[in-house]
Symmetry: C2
């Protein structure tokens, strides 16, 4: 079965890793949000791409989910002594990646070419694609500060400002990166990983051509909201601030015109009926991925379920 997974950062990367544990390389393409990408200290930084790449390469920091394992922070320490901007936590190993990506982009390579190179160097056989090679910048509209570039909201302000809405700068003229639309066309199913619907998956879904490619596709989402909360990140807080009680049902409503199945946690089983009433099949299981084995089990369960639909 050929699967395309849409992914943001940590939660998405975990399920992508689970799928990669279950599927041969030719059967999985992970399409990653680039709306979080930004330039910092002259470097192009792609937080979601890097989290997916580090996770699939086995290099991710298991404690944080982002950044590298066995990381050191000496460049950042120097920057601090020089009064520079240090709100974005750049590890030394991580810096090497940003330097090489920035160098290659400056030399004329596209982000997908650079990503392919990184994957090849680090032995990642499953395909990881940025959703677009053009710049897309997620802008968060906040009550306190007005519009903030995503990383300012997410890291500098630690998601404290209340959100009013989002826009994705540059998305109207962005094109899906080479391979994205064809991977969707070839896929037996598309999996929306448990990433933030507002700022991780919506930027992917809004790239011109993607929605159209998804028409008549079998689409399954995994709810990032469990018992009204998220494992990580501001998705629940965002639902709240936008006047929507955060729940698996709210996720179903968010994706109601798109998905066929919503995987929800056992803790949210009571919402199954309301979700089903939207015409979406709830698939109830354990969705919290604490270990690498959890990722594989959840992925396998999703694949088994999709297999029964196809059979």
């Amino acid at each position: 079965m050929k699967i395309v997974a849409f992914s943001g950062g940590v939660g998405g990367a975990k399920l992508a890793d689970g799928l990669a544990q279950c599927l041969p390389p030719s059967n999985l393409t992970v399409i990653v949000n680039t709306g979080d990408d930004f330039d910092h200290l002259g470097l192009r930084i792609c937080p979601d791409l890097d989290t997916v790449v580090y996770t699939l390469a086995g290099l991710a920091n298991p404690a944080t989910g982002w950044g590298r394992a066995e990381e050191t922070w000496n460049a950042l320490e120097t920057l601090q002594t020089l009064g520079s901007e240090t709100w974005f936590k750049l590890g030394d190993r991580d810096l090497g990646l940003h330097l090489e990506r920035t160098r290659r982009l400056a030399a004329g390579e596209t982000l997908s070419q650079v990503t392919q190179h990184i994957c090849r160097c680090w032995g990642i056989e499953h395909r990881i694609l940025p959703v677009s090679d053009q710049r897309i910048a997620t802008i968060v509209d906040t009550v306190e500060y007005g519009e903030l570039p995503f990383q300012q909201y997410f890291v500098k302000h630690q998601c404290h400002p209340a959100v009013k809405g989002f826009r994705f700068e540059g998305i109207e003229t962005a094109q899906a990166a080479p391979g994205v639309l064809s991977a969707i066309h070839r896929a037996d199913a598309v999996v929306l990983t448990p990433s933030n619907p507002w700022v991780s998956l919506d930027p992917i879904l809004c790239v011109p051509g993607i929605r159209q490619a998804l028409e008549k596709k079998r689409i399954l989402a995994v709810s990032p909201i469990i018992a009204g909360k998220t494992v990580k990140g501001p998705a629940a807080k965002m639902f709240d601030e936008l006047g929507i009680a955060p729940s698996a049902l709210a996720v179903a409503q968010h994706y109601h015109d798109l998905i066929e199945t919503l995987v929800i946690d056992r803790q949210d089983e009571s919402q199954s009926q309301s979700i089903a009433a939207l015409g979406i099949t709830p698939l109830v299981t354990d969705t919290i991925m604490k270990t690498r084995a959890d990722r594989k089990r959840l992925a396998q369960e999703i694949l088994n379920y999709l297999q029964t639909l196809t059979a």
Copy 2:
């Protein structure tokens, strides 16, 4: 006594540190070669400036003389796994400085402004000035490869190619950085530290206006050649390849139209008479600086000597 010191990298930085140990901040300006500066992985790297800054800030690696103490190499390790250029050894702490300098230069600051900021942050009170804010690029003409940018010759090829000559790209239009000429004008004496005459001090001396400012100045040089060799770097090898036997006398001849005094090592005492015959006073002492105390002793001896001339 007000002193201006001209410096390249390690040897020059050691004597600059000695002078800084002896003189109050207002009485010492160190003018540093920028001909070695280059862009690498998108970063502006200024090896001689950094060596002088690290040394005067007490941050230098005592084993190598260049780079930072307690350095780690994790960014470089990542670059290596990505097949990037790793011939130039970028440490993680060192990277922080390059990132901040590159960021400030891109924001429109001059190299002297950036250097001043770094010195202020790291508590360096003596003045360190790049010789120019404009780009000067030392090009080494070699037998094997023709012209090589300095760092390619120095680091990538480890000084192996035989040299035929040197040129300093951009020097005709370069201007002395703010403060350089006035520091020379105010100085009671100028000290040419034991840096490479060909590629560390000549680029300083060739910046328009410097030679003129040095006219009628009391100038003392410290020979970088001791018993026909250098403590570090390719100066002796360069003399040889240019058909000049490397010696303290050869240094005296190199600077004969410029200097009044040449400090030579006791090992070269036998050359005193030939040096004197050029109209240059030889000052014989121990010139090898192994410890911080050695630097101070040599600097103090030079200052005492200059004091006797002024008295």
